[in-house]
């Protein structure tokens, strides 16, 4: 579907933007910064050790020279001499602070503030880089960790889960509203078909749910046709990403009616009605329309469908017979189309339908929302009307001769294609068999060669042997 292709483009766009972000947030910058800090800390610790030893030696020498002096200096020095040996046992950081600040590491406190202003300015930039910079900043500083990414993604997931259940219910309600209008007791399909629903018996469920967006309704037991399958393909309301996407690229709820006509009921009719642009595409793409029918010009001198729509048909006569007065009055005429025809997408009758069943009528309408289900009443009424019309319709002899020749040609071509396909398959099989045989022979011949060689050696050995035997004998 077009929706999924656009989905893919959207996702590719996301990929590209996310990888462009990665360039902005190269981690190496901050790794380098952090690594440098680690190194500077380690260097400082090493320097503390080297600096401590000279003062220890100095303090030890001094008390010896000053023992003769009054006691005051002694207590000063004794504790001084005592503390250095103890200090070696203590943690280096406590004493080293004093030496840092005085001698060589005056710049260190100044270094702490600059990283903080840098962080603050970076916090002002867009949200996504934030958690990166703050979470990777110096562990020693009090980090302002912002959980922006986590909050955004977590909330998106919560909204996604919430939307799943509401969207699911919305789709179900829409399908049930349709079924309540057209498939329950006293409705149009109940009056037209004897067996409704996919199960057996009276209480069979009317709708079959295949996934969150696809609902099927089956009806059978009517003259001229084997059955009718209505498939509702709804918007992906349960998927938040698709829903956001459909805000940009509009999508519609669709219902497709497929009527399987009986072989004897349907004559050779290939006919389609669709909106102008869509009709051109249909005529080129759909195989049977392409081969047998062409776009029809509006006939003059009689009432015809609205200009919005165009008709594809094999012959004008057939088209004229199928677009009856009643239909024009009810749905396709100028007046009626404005009111009732808006939800019409396309309609296609074919007795050469590609696929399993040959003779099919296919109707496609857009579904209105649950409250306005009555809008498509007249369109749905087209379905049984056309089943009867096409079921009773017989081609005139002129029309039949034209259609007959075209179909005979098509049948012959199809037959030829089948033959060719079968021949190709046979040839392929033969070629494969030949290859297999050749490989087997090659293997055999290799083995045979080995055997021959072995035999020859054996013979030579035997030739060598008999002389011995003869001598013994």
């Amino acid at each position: 579907m077009n929706c999924s292709l656009f989905n893919l483009l959207f996702l590719l766009f996301l990929l590209i933007t996310s990888f462009s972000f990665s360039h902005v947030l190269a981690d190496s910058h901050f790794e380098g910064f952090d690594a440098e800090d680690d190194e500077t800390i380690e260097e400082e610790i090493l320097d503390h050790h080297s600096i401590r030893s000279p003062p220890v030696s100095r303090s030890n020498s001094q008390p010896l020279t000053d023992l003769g002096t009054p006691t005051d200096p002694d207590p000063d020095f004794v504790p001084a001499s005592d503390t250095p040996p103890q200090s070696e046992l203590q943690k280096p950081s406590t004493i080293s602070f004093e030496y840092w600040d005085e001698d060589e590491f005056e710049g260190l406190p100044a270094e702490q503030p600059p990283p903080e202003p840098v962080k603050d300015t970076e916090n002002a930039t867009p949200d996504d880089p934030d958690p990166k910079t703050t979470s990777k900043s110096q562990g020693a500083t009090v980090s302002k960790k912002s959980f922006t990414l986590e909050i955004v993604c977590g909330s998106f997931l919560i909204v996604f889960a919430f939307n799943y259940f509401t969207g699911k219910r919305e789709n179900e309600n829409l399908a049930l509203a349709w079924a309540a209008k057209f498939a329950t007791k006293g409705s149009i399909f109940e009056k037209n078909f004897s067996l409704l629903g996919v199960g057996e018996g009276e209480d069979s469920p009317l709708l079959l749910k295949e996934g969150q967006t696809v609902f099927k309704f089956y009806a059978t037991g009517r003259r001229y046709c084997q059955g009718l399958l209505a498939t509702m393909e709804l918007k992906s309301r349960h998927d938040l990403i698709s829903r956001l996407f459909n805000l940009v690229v509009p999508c519609k709820d669709e219902i497709t009616f497929e009527v399987y006509m009986n072989d004897e009921a349907m004559d050779q009719v290939i006919f389609a009605v669709a909106k102008k642009k869509a009709a051109k595409g249909m005529q080129k793409e759909v195989r049977d329309l392409q081969r047998f029918a062409g776009l029809m010009t509006n006939p003059s001198g009689r009432k015809w469908v609205v200009d919005d729509l165009s008709v594809i048909s094999e012959s004008k006569e057939v088209a004229g017979d199928l677009i009856t007065e009643a239909v024009l009055e009810q749905v396709f005429g100028d007046k009626a189309y404005e009111k009732y025809g808006k939800n019409f997408i396309s309609m296609q009758f074919s007795d050469q339908h590609p696929g399993m069943h040959r003779k099919m009528l296919v109707f496609k309408f857009a579904l209105p929302d649950a409250n306005n289900m009555a809008d498509i009443t007249r369109l749905v009424a087209l379905v049984p009307y056309y089943i009867d019309l096409v079921g009773r319709y017989k081609l005139s002899s002129q029309a039949r001769s034209k259609t007959e020749t075209a179909r005979v040609k098509a049948a012959q071509e199809a037959h030829k294609e089948l033959k060719n396909a079968r021949q190709e398959a046979l040839q392929r099989k033969k070629a494969e068999k030949k290859k297999m045989l050749e490989e087997a022979e090659a293997k055999l011949s290799a083995e045979a060669v080995r055997k021959r060689e072995a035999k020859e050696r054996a013979r030579q050995m035997k030739k060598a042997m008999p002389k011995m035997k003869m001598t013994r004998a």
């Binding site: 110096q138 009517r222 084997q226 938040l240 990403i241």
Partner: protein, 106 residues
Amino acid sequence: MSHNNNSMSANDPRQPSAAKPYVAQPVAAQDLPVDYSGFIAVVFGIAGVMFRYKLSSWLAIIFCAQSLANMKNVENDLKQISMAMMFAIMGLVTNYFGPARPGTQS
């Protein structure tokens, strides 16, 4: 409505005798639409694990959720989705609780 069932008048189009029960047409495995969101989830998950990129792991989780929401056939699709989920969760765990890079906070 019951009298309609009994009468075989020309006006009543129904033919109970002609009723054919519904046969679900099997869809070949190749015809199934490609699970784009699952594939993208795997790509983002692997990127998140390899490059230690948190945004990528979170996006992988989001696309896994989308793939789960769109899953039609429980048996077949669950395997790929669970693989994508594994990658995404692994990515998140290594990003948040794994061995921290030097100087980074986990």
